[in-house]
Symmetry: C2
Subunit: 155 residues, 2 copies
Amino acid sequence: MRLSTKGRYAVTAMLDLALNGKTGPVTLAEISENQGISLSYLEQLFAALRSKDLVRGVRGPGGGYYLGKSSDEISIANIICAVDEWVEFTRCGGRQNCSGGARCLTHTLWDDLSAEIFNFLADISLGDLVRRNLANRNGRDTSLSAVSTSSSQAA
Amino acid sequence: MRLSTKGRYAVTAMLDLALNGKTGPVTLAEISENQGISLSYLEQLFAALRSKDLVRGVRGPGGGYYLGKSSDEISIANIICAVDEWVEFTRCGGRQNCSGGARCLTHTLWDDLSAEIFNFLADISLGDLVRRNLANRNGRDTSLSAVSTSSSQAA
DNA sequence: TAATTACCTAGTGATTTGGTTGGAAATAGA
DNA sequence: TCTATTTCCAACCAAATCACTAGGTAATTA
């Protein structure tokens, strides 16, 4: 898995779209202005998002972008994978030349952990984030998703 | 947050250390051999891990690295933060010049999500991963941590 | 026709990645 | 004490990635 600033930009832009796209299409110029991301960089990100059907573009005056599907059907994992080229994990290409077994062992552990992280992000949708915010206008600490058993360790 | 191949290398190396360090110190040469990571790159990673007291080095023949504390006291988030320089999230530096409010809104949403991801990774320890593997020798699908409510969405 | 917008391609400086080289300091064993 | 081993440390490097700029073309509206 890969979670970089590029993915953050994409998620941020999609959030902007989910929040402001209720009435009509949102232009990249608006998102650029709102989020402080350069227009051309947004174009590149949205090319990737469009290829995965996460957004739908409308050309011409009055055009812009819509979400490609309902905000509940778009997970954070979907967005990050679209722009960050889901890096395939080196799992020794099956079982070949995995010297000693110690290598395969840690690879397996890492793969399991990666899958867990992916599932975590796949379970949070754009809709979840938006609703959480609306519900949290003056309240506090609304749980983001079904998953929320944090405690024990801090930074 | 930031989850790159660099962090993956660090987690993988720490897993190797947790698995093989029961009897004595583990040399970087062994980890390099086991995991296919260059020795010098490991040195750089372990310099960062050492500065955060996640590992303890012993010089000289028969030397190597120990875990700096119990594997239960080392979270995945600890490891990734040590090598990846925990990127501070642009939250508009407080509340200044955040045009329109739409920007602050998505920033807040992103910050909340980031915190959630961090908590998720902070709740998984090296010890969890090791125990999961031992428990899963011939069994299947042992839950990794307390957190495991996945369903609904897939890739 | 003109303005607006998505869409496309190429390039660019800065940073990060993952690695190499060449050591120095500490320690165990001969 | 000498030597081998190992961590430690600094500088440097090619390749990739990041975030952006520049300069268009295609579709659509008024």
